[in-house]
């Protein structure tokens, strides 16, 4: 017997959760398209974002929502400053450029995780929010928890703005051209350094602010990064590297999967299932389930 009320509630939770994962996944996929580097630091951006929420919220009357604009600005600036470093290690005459890029983000992830761990200790912290509490009852469907709803709305809005920039502006066109072919884009007179910085900065800003929302929904802990790195990988692997529309579907699938396994199987099994799926999909179809990603080279 499946309880219909519980079932719809799980679907609601899963969809709302998926909204924020999509934000992370789309930025991550774009960063890969533009820089051709798989960013191992993605989960740590989420983690640092959540910690910024926990640390800065008391300054704003214990309200995590007000931290978001600061996180957006800080992460954009930091991302724009980190991008040239990644670009530098993957180009030029050094041996194994891809390896160097991968290891660099790996070092960045270690640095971020280690710094937060050293400064704040291993315990998790709450990201307070008095505005986003309680839930909205919708008769016949279930409860929409306010935190998760606002999170999803933020995710969808952020995504819409991002997509508008990418597909409806000249800057967005430049970024898509770089993702298509960096050398050609440069020959067309695109300032690749600038637009790569913008793309990476936007990705970092989206991911960091997603972290604040995730911190408000759950909490902030130094070890949480790994999980979100896994989630980001899961989404782009499922969707195919660099294929944005697929990420949206994959993010929603991820939210639903997490919410269903947590209720019907067990919380412990979620990561096992996710990692196993990543591994199998990579082996069977490295260009994603739909086969529309960039092929493994």
């Amino acid at each position: 017997m499946v309880d219909i009320g519980l079932f719809t509630q799980i679907v609601i939770n899963g969809l709302l959760l998926g909204g924020i994962y999509v934000t992370i996944g789309v930025g991550f996929s774009l960063a890969f398209g533009v820089l051709e580097v798989v960013d191992f630091a993605v989960g740590e951006y989420v983690m640092v974002g959540a910690f910024m929420g926990a640390v800065l919220a008391p300054l704003f009357g214990a309200e995590g929502v007000f931290v978001i604009p600061i996180v957006l600005v800080v992460f954009f600036a930091v991302g724009a400053l980190i991008q040239p470093l990644i670009h530098h290690v993957t180009t030029g005459d050094r041996p194994h450029p891809l390896l160097m890029g991968l290891v660099f983000t790996f070092g960045l992830a270690t640095f971020l995780r280690g710094s937060v761990l050293t400064i704040f200790g291993p315990n998790s912290q709450d990201v307070p929010s008095s505005l986003l509490t309680g839930g909205i009852e919708v008769p016949g469907l279930g409860t929409f928890p306010v935190v998760r709803t606002v999170t999803a709305v933020f995710g969808v809005t952020g995504l819409a703005v991002f997509m508008y920039y990418l597909y409806r502006t000249r800057g967005g066109m430049a970024i898509r051209a770089i993702a298509e072919d960096r050398t050609n884009a440069r020959l067309m007179g695109i300032n690749i350094n600038r637009y790569q910085s913008i793309a990476y900065g936007a990705y970092a800003a989206l991911t960091g602010s997603a972290g604040v929302f995730i911190g408000m929904t759950f909490n902030a802990s130094p070890g949480m990064g790994l999980q979100y790195t896994a989630f980001a990988f899961f989404m782009v692997v499922l969707a195919g590297m660099g294929y944005l529309p697929g990420v949206i579907v994959a993010g929603i699938v991820l939210g639903l999967t997490q919410s269903f396994t947590a209720v019907y199987i067990s919380g412990n099994a979620v990561l096992l299932v996710l990692f196993a799926i990543i591994y199998v999909v990579l082996l069977v179809s490295p260009a994603g389930i739909l086969g529309k990603g960039e092929w493994a080279t």
Partner: protein, 343 residues
């Protein structure tokens, strides 16, 4: 290129005397400095060996294995399960660790080595994480409780051996294993034809293939070899440390450290992992002893990795050999500065 002679060649006297002195020092180490330093020494030796095992696949073959730590854990759990669940002595667990790691590595190698670059890295990383999650759920590995291994003089070969549980004993075991790993690496990768094949496939797989090298076969051989070496160290470590838990010996930090050590020392070099392993291991120990913080080495290492990748991609060995001079760093900085162009 700075043009100066490599540091290693500037040592005075015949190099053989230096090696001899080093050998004597390593053999006499526990008697010279006591059990505390024996413990430090055996840890350093283990990590040098592990870094070298990663260097085989990651450095010589150029395949970024981000799940290598899994084999360290598998070796540990194979020995642990043999000793705890079945009551065998350590030697049986040791043999089991080798067999299990070799079989598993081969089964993993066949599909996974078709992937390259980032895809290979993510796939191995995902596999290692799922192995860890599985170990946390399974009963035979002790689940979330971990395994407590027996440690008495008769756990070595079944009959009582009086010396078999002392710090000194484990020091010599690690010394032997580390030396063996170094010797295997030297012979196979630096002297034997096998090493040339491996380096050829790393530098250009198609070219290697066209020269008649069976790259698939060579890749699998390197992968299995490197995984077995990691498992061997894992089994001895489990016996030495007595208590093993998936969150410790299957943690991603194990892989992280191997990668970092090999990279800092110099990828694809024989002596690189020695320098890198020593540096990272000592940083970690010293940060917990002198700074009272067991995590401070993480941001330190993270920064070191980023600086190494940016300015000295050939690692400490590259600096010692004089491949990276002041001019290179300056040129590097200048090129890097040109890439900051946001406003």
């Amino acid at each position: 290129m700075s043009g100066s002679a490599p540091v290693l060649d500037r040592l005075p006297g015949d190099r053989r005397y230096w090696f001899l002195a080093l050998g004597v020092l390593l053999l006499a180490w526990p008697f010279l400095f006591g059990s505390f330093w024996a413990r430090i020494g055996l840890g350093a030796l283990m990590w040098i060996g592990l870094a070298q095992s990663w260097n085989m696949i990651g450095g010589y073959a150029g395949y970024l294995d981000f799940g290598h730590g899994a084999y360290f854990g598998i070796g540990g759990f194979a020995a642990g399960i043999a000793m705890v669940q079945f009551g065998y002595p350590f030697v049986v667990g040791f043999a089991l660790a080798i067999v299990v790691a070799a079989v598993l590595a081969y089964l993993v190698a066949v599909p996974t080595l078709r992937l390259t670059g980032a895809y290979f890295a993510i796939a191995t990383w995902a596999l290692a994480e799922s192995i860890k999650q599985a170990a946390l759920i399974l009963e035979i590995t002790g689940g979330t409780f971990g395994l407590s291994l027996p440690r008495s003089p008769d756990t070595f070969i079944g009959i009582a051996v009086p010396f078999a549980i002392s710090e000194t004993f484990f020091y010599y075991v690690m010394l032997l294993l580390c030396a063996a790993t170094m010797l295997v690496t030297y012979v196979l990768f630096e002297r034997h034809e096998f090493g040339y094949r491996v380096k050829a496939l790393r530098d250009d797989q198609d070219a290697a293939e066209s020269l008649g090298i069976d790259t698939t076969r060579v890749k699998r051989q390197v992968y299995v070899l490197s995984c077995v070496v990691a498992a061997v160290f894992g089994s001895v470590y489990a016996w030495y440390i007595v208590f093993i838990h998936p969150n410790d010996i299957l943690a991603p930090i194990v892989t992280d450290r191997m990668v970092i050590m090999a990279l800092l020392g110099g990828l694809g070099t024989l002596t690189g992992p020695i320098f890198g392993g020593l540096l990272v291991f000592l940083l970690q120990r010293l940060s917990s002893v002198f700074l009272g913080s067991s995590t401070f080495y993480l941001p330190l290492i993270g920064t070191l990795i980023m600086i190494t990748v940016l300015f000295a991609p050939s690692g400490i060995i590259g600096i010692l050999r004089g491949e990276i001079g002041r001019d290179d760093v300056r040129k590097n900085l200048k090129e890097l500065g040109e890439k900051f162009d946001l406003l």
